[in-house]
Every structure is written in structure tokens, then in C-alpha cells.
């Protein structure tokens, strides 16, 4: 062991980490690059909301397209790359054997990122599908599916070849995310792109996919990391662990049923929205259990846990807000407004990104067997990210609430509404600026830690059974 990472936890680098080093660093690195691309696009789209002529002459960045590009770069670029890296690492570590199938993983990552790049150019030239979270043009979607399959080979091998007897919550979430996404993705492709269903059934199917992508893929990827890191760093078993499986299965069985969340009062049967109310209410159980399980992270200190604590609070709060705004009386005012954007950004930037950051800060020193290049950058990133998310979500929520009230008053013109929104929208731009600045620090720090630096000789220590560190259950 060469040195300790900056967060103070002991660096127990194992064969698992050394074999998986380059494939996983490749995944994380590409994820962070896409995060920056998405951040630049977010800045552009947010400026366009208060100054509509900004970049309007550039057809590649006209507002509608730039919004789709931003979302795609975030979900398929950042969250997918980083999340898959975390899921595979967690599966390999808890399975107790080095990652296998790393060639497949490498090829898959290469083509996945190629697909994201082609997809963004496709959206920019007018081939977006217009379905939320599924904006990638139809012609790259098969490529995405195949390259995902190649990446998942490593996960399948790590899961089926695990040495340890029991399984842990971190593994459930990792396996669920890896296993469910291809089904979700291909089923959505079939009913929306290859053999599209008619009329507004498409809206229901698109809602099912968008909610499924969040509850069955993105959130589990983030939770896999959090459930692994929290007990590791705090050195204590997860609290109330007996409830973990209930929380897990609630999310898996109920999550995608909330697909009608955005169709309240829309041209679909009322039961679609009612089902969303019911499932969002049931999901509150899941959010509370996750909070109970991971509450050991709150106030425990350390880089990784600081990020994860923020993510955990944002995740729980976001879940409660989802269940409240699913009710018709509230949706009357919040639907179609920036409140929806606030909820989405709370979930994506507040919960998902923060948990991924926390896990990455824990994971990268173990992969590289070197501490992070700069502790100062980590601290700055933390404050920029925290401030950015808080400002972003508050500005969007307050602006959206005012916008909703204005929309309900038929005499208020759109010019007046935009006049009222000016200040919140400027704050949103500032918030995206903070987030982008923080993420640039992350990229620089990551590159310096991964590529630059002294000797790369690694001492491999025998794998340490993590049993005592993980959970109360064997």
C-alpha cells in the first residue's frame, strides 16, 4: 500500500481494483466529460429562457434541440457511464473475485460513447424522438442496446461467479439496474419507434419509460454506490437493514407504474393518472426506508459521505415532492411549469449526481492506488455543487410556483409571466454556472489523479472479505 486517500479511510486496494482499473477509469472519465458537455448545454438553454435570441440562429443549438441534447448527454453520457462503472465495481468487490470480461467492457464502453456522440449530432440535426429520456435518434438506439449488452457481460460474470454466500443491498440495486435497463429500453423502442402504438398511448408508453428509467435504472445505480460506500466509510453496519429488501422491492414493483405522473388532466383515461398517484404514494415507503438505512452517512464526515448525505436528503425530499405533486389539486398549479423542472433537477443533479460523486470520490483512489491529486479541488467542487443545486432547485421551484399561479389567472399575458420569471431564470443560469465550474474542477482533478503523477507500481494486497463491514445480515 502506497498511501492513503484524502478522505482518511484506509486504502485497501485489491486485485479486484487493479484488474478493473483502466476499463472503469475509462467509464468514469467519459462520464465526467459528458457531464461537462451537458453542463455547457444547460448553460445555453437556461440563457435562452431569459434571452430567447441567444444562439437562436444556430440550428444545432435552437432551444428545443439543445434541451434534448442536454438531457441525453446527462442521462446516457454522464449517469450511464458513471453508474455502470459503480455497479460493476460494487458487484466485483462484493462478489469477491476480480472483474472478468473486461475486454467486452472496454469495447462496449467505446461503442456506447460513440453512440452518445452520434446521437447528439443526430439530435442537433433534427432526428430526436421527442420522448423524454429517450431522445436518442432511432438509428443509434440498437447500437446503444448492443454496447450496453457488451458492458453488462462483466456484471453478469461478477454476479454469477460471486464467491460470497449472501448478497447485499448494494448488489441488489446494481444487478437490478444492469439487468432491467435493456428490457426497459428495448420494450420502449418497440412500442414507440419500431411499431409505434397509436395516438396518446404513445404518451403513456413514453411516461412508463421515463419513470422506469429513473426508478429502475438511474436511481438503483446511484443507490448501489451509496449502499456500498456508507457502511464502508462510516465503519458501521447499515441501520435498520432488515427493511432494506422491502424498500428495494417497493421501488422495483411500483416504480414504473408512476408513468402517468405528467399526464394529469391529459387526453388519456383518468386511471393512468390515478395509478401514478397511488404508486407515488407507495414509493414514499421506499424513500423513507432508504433514508433509514443510510442515515449513518448524515454527519459522519469525510468527502464521500458528505456528497452522499446531500444526495440522500435530495433523494428523499424529491420522492416526497413527487408524491405531493402527483395529486390533482396540486398538479393543477404545478403541472407544465418550472416546478416540474425543479423536481427533475433535484432528482438528477441533487440526488443522482451527488451520490455518484460521493461514490467516485471513494472509488477512484482505490482504482488508481493513489490519493486524489488535490484535496482543495474536492472541497471547492463540493461547495460549488451544493450551492449550485440549492440555487437551481429553489429558483426553479419558486419561479415555477409563480408561473403556475400566473397561468391560472387567464388575464395574465405571457409577456407578464416572463417578466415575473426574469429573476428566477437569471438565478437558474447562475446555478448552472456554479455546477459547471465545480464539474470542471472534478474533471481536472480526475485527469490529474488518473493519468499524471509518479510511479504506477501497485501493491496488491489479498482480498479482504467485506462481510463485517457491510451489513447486519450475513
Amino acid at each position: 500500500m502506497i498511501n492513503a486517500p484524502t478522505n482518511g479511510a484506509s486504502a485497501e486496494v485489491t486485485a479486484v481494483d487493479t484488474t478493473a482499473r483502466w476499463p472503469l477509469l475509462f467509464l468514469i472519465g467519459s462520464g465526467i466529460v459528458w457531464l461537462l458537455v451537458s453542463g455547457v448545454l444547460a448553460l445555453i438553454t437556461s440563457i435562452q429562457l431569459h434571452s430567447p435570441q441567444f444562439m437562436a440562429d444556430c440550428s444545432w443549438l435552437t432551444h428545443g434541440r439543445a434541451v434534448a441534447e442536454r438531457e441525453t448527454a446527462f442521462v446516457y453520457g454522464w449517469a450511464a457511464n458513471a453508474g455502470i462503472a459503480i455497479a460493476l465495481w460494487v458487484l466485483a468487490r462484493l462478489g469477491g473475485s476480480p472483474l472478468r470480461g473486461t475486454n467486452w467492457l472496454f469495447i462496449g464502453t467505446l461503442f456506447w460513447n460513440l453512440g452518445v456522440a452520434i446521437g447528439l449530432v443526430g439530435i442537433a440535426t433534427g432526428d430526436m424522438t421527442t420522448f423524454a429520456f429517450l431522445q436518442l435518434p432511432a438509428y443509434v438506439q440498437p447500437l446503444m442496446l448492443f454496447s450496453y449488452g457488451a458492458m453488462a457481460v462483466a456484471g453478469v460474470l461478477a454476479w454469477s461467479g460471486r464467491r460470497a454466500d449472501g448478497t447485499y443491498a448494494a448488489q441488489w440495486y446494481a444487478v437490478a439496474a444492469l439487468f432491467l435497463f435493456p428490457w426497459l429500453f428495448s420494450a420502449a423502442q418497440v412500442v414507440l419507434l419500431w411499431a409505434p402504438v397509436r395516438g396518446t398511448v404513445q404518451a403513456v408508453a413514453a411516461g412508463w419509460f421515463a419513470q422506469g428509467a429513473w426508478t429502475l435504472w438511474l436511481a438503483p445505480l446511484a443507490l448501489a454506490g451509496a449502499y456500498y460506500v456508507v457502511p464502508k466509510v462510516s465503519g458501521r453496519a447499515l441501520r435498520s437493514y432488515d427493511f432494506a429488501s422491502l424498500g428495494f422491492w417497493t421501488l422495483i414493483t411500483v416504480g414504473a407504474w408512476s408513468g402517468g405522473r405528467h399526464l394529469i388532466g391529459g387526453p388519456v383515461p383518468a386511471w393512468v393518472a390515478t395509478m401514478a398517484v397511488a404508486s407515488c404514494s407507495l414509493l414514499v415507503g421506499h424513500y423513507l426506508i432508504v433514508f433509514l438505512n443510510l442515515r449513518g452517512a448524515v454527519g459522519a464526515g469525510g468527502t464521500a459521505l458528505n456528497f452522499i448525505t446531500f444526495g440522500l436528503v435530495a433523494y428523499t425530499l424529491g420522492g416526497l415532492l413527487d408524491s405531493i405533486t402527483a395529486f390533482r389539486e396540486i398538479a393543477l398549479q404545478t403541472q407544465f411549469t418550472l416546478v416540474s423542472s425543479a423536481q427533475q433537477e433535484l432528482a438528477l443533479h441533487g440526488a443522482l449526481s451527488m451520490m455518484l460523486f460521493g461514490t467516485i470520490y471513494y472509488m477512484v483512489p482505490r482504482l488508481t492506488d493513489r490519493p486524489w491529486a488535490s484535496a482543495g479541488f474536492i472541497g471547492a467542487h463540493r461547495w460549488l455543487a451544493t450551492g449550485g443545486v440549492l440555487l437551481l432547485v429553489l429558483a426553479l421551484a419558486i419561479g415555477g410556483w409563480m408561473q403556475g399561479a400566473d397561468l391560472l389567472a387567464p388575464k395574465t399575458s405571457f409577456a407578464a409571466i416572463h417578466g415575473h420569471l426574469k429573476l428566477p431564470l437569471l438565478a437558474v443560469t447562475a446555478a448552472y454556472g456554479l455546477l459547471l465550474a465545480g464539474n470542471i474542477l472534478l474533471l481536472v482533478n480526475f485527469l490529474r489523479s488518473a493519468c499524471v503523477g509518479g510511479s504506477t507500481t501497485v501493491t496488491v494486497t489479498p482480498f479482504r472479505q467485506p462481510l463485517n463491514m457491510e451489513a447486519t445480515a450475513p
Binding site: D57, D127, V175, G207, T253, G265, P269, F414
Partner: protein
């Protein structure tokens, strides 16, 4: 959860159930809606849109207009959609059966466009829309790339925009709408859901003590039970 295969089967069943319930269920219930034939008018509704308007919907989709505009009117007692002149009735599933990719939208940074061509008291005409698309406004981006600036050869094109002031092109040149701009405007001008389907009418109010406001409270879209 020591049993690996059982775990995976459980995951799979959970996903299939949600897919079957939401997507398949919706498809079975209203995936095969047919146009409504009105005996008195001797025509069926909705009517298919013309070729150019159908092409225009693709332009609408590829520019991502749905990022700021919805195309779904909520029922009169749910929000201010009716009061804003966006539509006299709620949108129903049957309105969309001929649209290859309905653009319901989820954000109203701009107005709803469901009934743009039937807007009360006055609907915009082609010239208004062309000018908005070319020049933009304080609230709306410009789409200059949908227009060509070219030299006037012989007679002025009948597709040329009449612009004045700062926007006017230099002498001897004209601004002409491309085919994409023309189909987009044709599409926007085809947006009109004037016809009242049986399922879009509010439920009859109860005879006694019916002061309105409670009708069809939770029935966004009543599925048709035949003609009433």
C-alpha cells in the same frame, strides 16, 4: 435473496407487470380508437391532415417546439385553459389518432397550441406566423435558418416575406420561406379541434343542487360508450 435465478425472475416479472398494466392496458383500451362518424354532418372526425401539414408536424418535432408548447387542453373546470381561449373543451384521445407522433408537451413556457387555428377571438394567419418564425420576439426565438435570403431575379417570389424596418433585406434581395418553414406554418394552421365528440362533453349535471364545478371531476377522458 441467495437464489440468483429467482431474484432475476422476480425483477423481470415486476417490469413485465408494469409494462402490461400501463402500456398494454392503454393500448387495449384506446389504442384502436376509430374516427367518430357524425350522421348530421355526414363526415367523420377527426379528419386526416393534409400532406404538407403532416410533414409540418415532423418539423415541429425536430425543432423541439414541445420544449415550451403543449398540445393538450385541460377540461374547463381544471385550470384556465378555456378562459385563455385555448379550447372550449378538453382534448381527448380521439383527437390524436391520426398523428404519427403526438406532441403533447410538458411545459407551458409558451401558450398551448392545440387549437391555434381556431383561437378566439382571432387566430394568427400565415403571415403572422412567418414573421414570428423569422424575426422572433422578446419571448420567442427566431428561426432564421428556416428562411433563405436571395437575390430577386425577375419577379419577386410570392413566398417572400413582407418585412419592414430593421428586418427588411437589402434592396434587390428577398427573404423566402423554405419548404420546411412552409410546412411548419401549414401544420400550425391546421391545428383545430373544433369538433365536439360525445366523450368530450361534460357529464350531465345533477338536476338538484347542481351548481357546476363538480361535473366530471375525475374523468379526464370518458371512454365512449356509443353515441349519446
Amino acid at each position: 435473496m441467495k437464489n440468483g435465478p429467482l431474484f432475476l425472475i422476480g425483477l423481470f416479472i415486476a417490469l413485465v407487470l408494469s409494462w402490461a398494466g400501463l402500456v398494454l392496458g392503454s393500448h387495449v383500451q384506446f389504442g384502436a380508437l376509430t374516427p367518430y362518424y357524425d350522421d348530421t354532418e355526414g363526415a367523420s372526425f377527426p379528419s386526416r391532415s393534409s400532406g404538407i401539414a403532416a410533414r409540418g408536424q415532423f418539423v415541429y418535432a425536430d425543432l423541439g417546439c414541445a420544449a415550451c408548447h403543449t398540445q393538450q387542453v385541460r377540461r374547463p373546470d381544471f385550470g384556465s385553459d378555456q378562459a385563455r381561449g385555448w379550447g372550449e373543451r378538453q382534448s381527448v384521445a380521439r383527437d390524436y389518432i391520426f398523428q404519427s407522433r403526438p406532441q403533447l408537451g410538458a411545459s407551458r413556457l409558451g401558450p398551448d397550441l392545440t387549437n391555434l387555428a381556431g383561437r378566439k377571438p382571432s387566430a394568427p394567419d400565415a403571415e403572422d406566423l412567418m414573421k414570428l418564425l423569422y424575426a422572433g420576439s422578446g419571448l420567442h426565438p427566431a428561426y432564421k435558418f428556416l428562411f433563405d435570403e436571395r437575390e430577386i431575379v425577375g419577379q419577386r417570389s410570392d413566398k417572400a416575406l413582407t418585412l419592414s424596418g430593421k428586418l427588411a433585406p437589402p434592396a434587390g434581395r428577398e427573404i423566402v420561406a423554405t419548404e420546411r418553414a412552409q410546412s411548419l406554418v401549414a401544420y400550425l394552421l391546421s391545428l383545430n379541434n373544433g369538433y365536439d365528440y360525445p366523450e368530450s362533453r361534460p357529464l350531465p349535471k345533477p338536476a338538484a343542487g347542481g351548481h357546476g364545478g363538480t361535473t366530471a371531476k375525475h374523468g379526464e377522458t370518458k371512454m365512449p360508450e356509443g353515441k349519446k
